[in-house]
């Protein structure tokens, strides 16, 4: 508990995050470059889909991240709401645009992948449909935050929304998958994707880690800016500004 209160202070987090950003950024860069090499060059073409399957190395990590980010956001928000920890509120708020970006990327790359495979630009595939709904959940969260002026009310209101959302996600997932199998008929889905071989798994994992560390990097950057703004009337921020001027 003491640990949380120690790093729960925005001032402490500001300093800590500042030190972490270069490390996270460096790790992200290394992982990204290796992942791209592995995915675009090292992994051999797929038996069925040729080179088109390489889109998977962008689509799948972003889809995973979009889900993870929402869960993480809901957890931060719940912590902030239940125990009144402002830092948690800030981390939740700042995670949302990142999560929405991951979702959008997953949607667009999924759509692009669908065209050469099944000849249509949009496939009402179970996963893509779930992603679309998730995108709306993110946009709703951000819209709610933006429409309430008071920071505390905004944080608590969106916390309730995020919690309701996260509880509903498994239900939505299940409903959409069920809906899709019911209407499957001749259509194939992205979920019945090429069998995963080891050569595919490695770039997939590397790219997923790359996007994870990208998330951490930009989380820290955004959180620091947000903290600076919210704490602008405090002494420590004033001192910081004077030192930098």
């Amino acid at each position: 508990m003491k640990f949380i209160h120690k790093y729960g202070s925005p001032k402490r987090f500001y300093a800590l995050a500042g030190r972490l950003v270069p490390w996270f950024a460096g790790i992200t860069a290394i992982l990204l470059v290796s992942g791209l090499y592995l995915g675009l060059y090292w992994a051999p073409p797929d038996y069925q889909q040729g080179d088109a399957y390489r889109i998977m190395f962008i689509h799948v990590p972003n889809a995973w991240m979009s889900m993870m980010a929402y869960t993480v956001m809901a957890v931060y928000a719940a912590i902030g709401y239940i125990w009144n920890i402002r830092l948690a509120d800030i981390l939740a708020k700042v995670t949302a645009p990142l999560g929405a970006s991951f979702t959008l990327t997953a949607l667009v790359t999924g759509s692009i992948w669908g065209e050469p495979m099944w000849g249509t630009w949009w496939v009402w595939d179970a996963r893509l449909t779930s992603e679309l709904i998730l995108f709306f959940l993110y946009i709703g969260y951000m819209a709610l935050q933006a429409s309430i002026d008071d920071d505390r009310r905004a944080a608590h209101a969106s916390a309730i929304l995020a919690i309701v959302g996260v509880v509903n996600i498994p239900i939505i997932h299940y409903s959409v998958y069920w809906w899709h199998t019911l209407h499957q008929s001749a259509s194939i889905s992205l979920t019945s994707q090429p069998k995963i071989y080891a050569t595919m798994l490695i770039p997939l994992v590397v790219m997923s880690l790359a996007f994870t560390f990208f998330y951490f990097t930009m989380l820290c950057v955004r959180a620091r800016t947000e903290i600076l703004w919210r704490e602008r009337h405090t002494d420590w921020v004033r001192k910081l500004l004077e030192a930098k001027s």
Binding site: I133, L134, F136, L137, I139, G140, A143, L144, S147, I148, R153, H156, A157, I160, L161, I163, V164, G165, V167, N168, I171, I172, Y174, S175, V176, W178, W179, L182
Partner: protein, 227 residues
């Protein structure tokens, strides 16, 4: 004179009905919208019965869903504006119970009429007779869920800029499971899939879930909005 909790719930419920009766135009909005949707679709798609039959379950359900979404603004907003909502929060009774009464009244005034009107509109959409029973049943199960789930975003957006549109955006993802199973139940009865009993029981399960979760979540949301 002091009320017990159930008496208080009943008081809230009857007050809701009374107030709404005086503002009957608000009830009409949802119904009129529902009628409009089912009238416009055949005009847009064409009178070919076979085509209408295929889309009927979906169109009817989407119409009911959108009509309910429109009506969510009446749930808390007017009471918020005239201060009676705050009174409710300050009363000694558990807020979740009182909120449940409000939601129940809302459903009696919007969802229930929609469900009862649906057989007539089903005829317009060329829905086979055998599916009409399931249509009414699915709406009777589904619209309370919509009212319950919808109460949370309605409570969160009180007094907020662009509240009306925002509620629709917030509620859309949460409504999709109900829509999927509601429409499927009707389609199954119309002979396009397998037995609708499974879908209806799942809707029943959703209803039970919503009944246990939503009053609590919306009262938390009300407290956040009214602090």
């Amino acid at each position: 004179m002091s009320y017990g909790m159930f008496a208080a719930m009943r008081a809230v419920f009857s007050r809701e009905l009374l107030v709404f009766w005086r503002r009957s135009t608000e009830i009409m909005t949802a119904l009129v919208f529902f009628i409009m949707v089912t009238t416009l679709f055949p005009l847009a798609i064409g009178p070919e019965r076979h085509e209408l039959m295929l889309v009927a379950p979906g169109v009817l359900w989407v119409g009911a869903l959108l009509a309910t979404t429109l009506s969510l603004n009446h749930l808390f907003a007017s009471d918020y504006q005239d201060g009676s909502l705050e009174q409710l929060l300050m009363s000694p009774y558990p807020l979740s119970a009182l909120v449940l009464s409000k939601i129940a009244a809302h459903w009696v005034l919007t969802g229930l009429p929609l469900a009862l009107l649906s057989p007539l509109l089903a005829i317009q959409m060329a829905l086979p007779m055998k599916a009409v029973g399931t249509l009414v049943g699915s709406l009777l199960l589904g619209t309370p869920i919509l009212s319950l789930i919808g109460a949370v975003p309605a409570a969160l957006t009180l007094g907020v800029r662009g509240g009306g549109v925002l509620v629709s955006l917030l509620v859309l993802p949460l409504y999709t499971p109900v829509l999927i199973f509601g429409a499927e139940a009707v389609a199954a009865s119309a002979g396009q899939g397998f037995a609708s009993v499974a879908h209806l029981s799942l809707l029943g399960a959703f209803l039970a879930l919503a009944l246990s979760f939503a009053p609590w979540a919306s009262s938390a949301a009300l407290r956040v909005s009214l602090d």
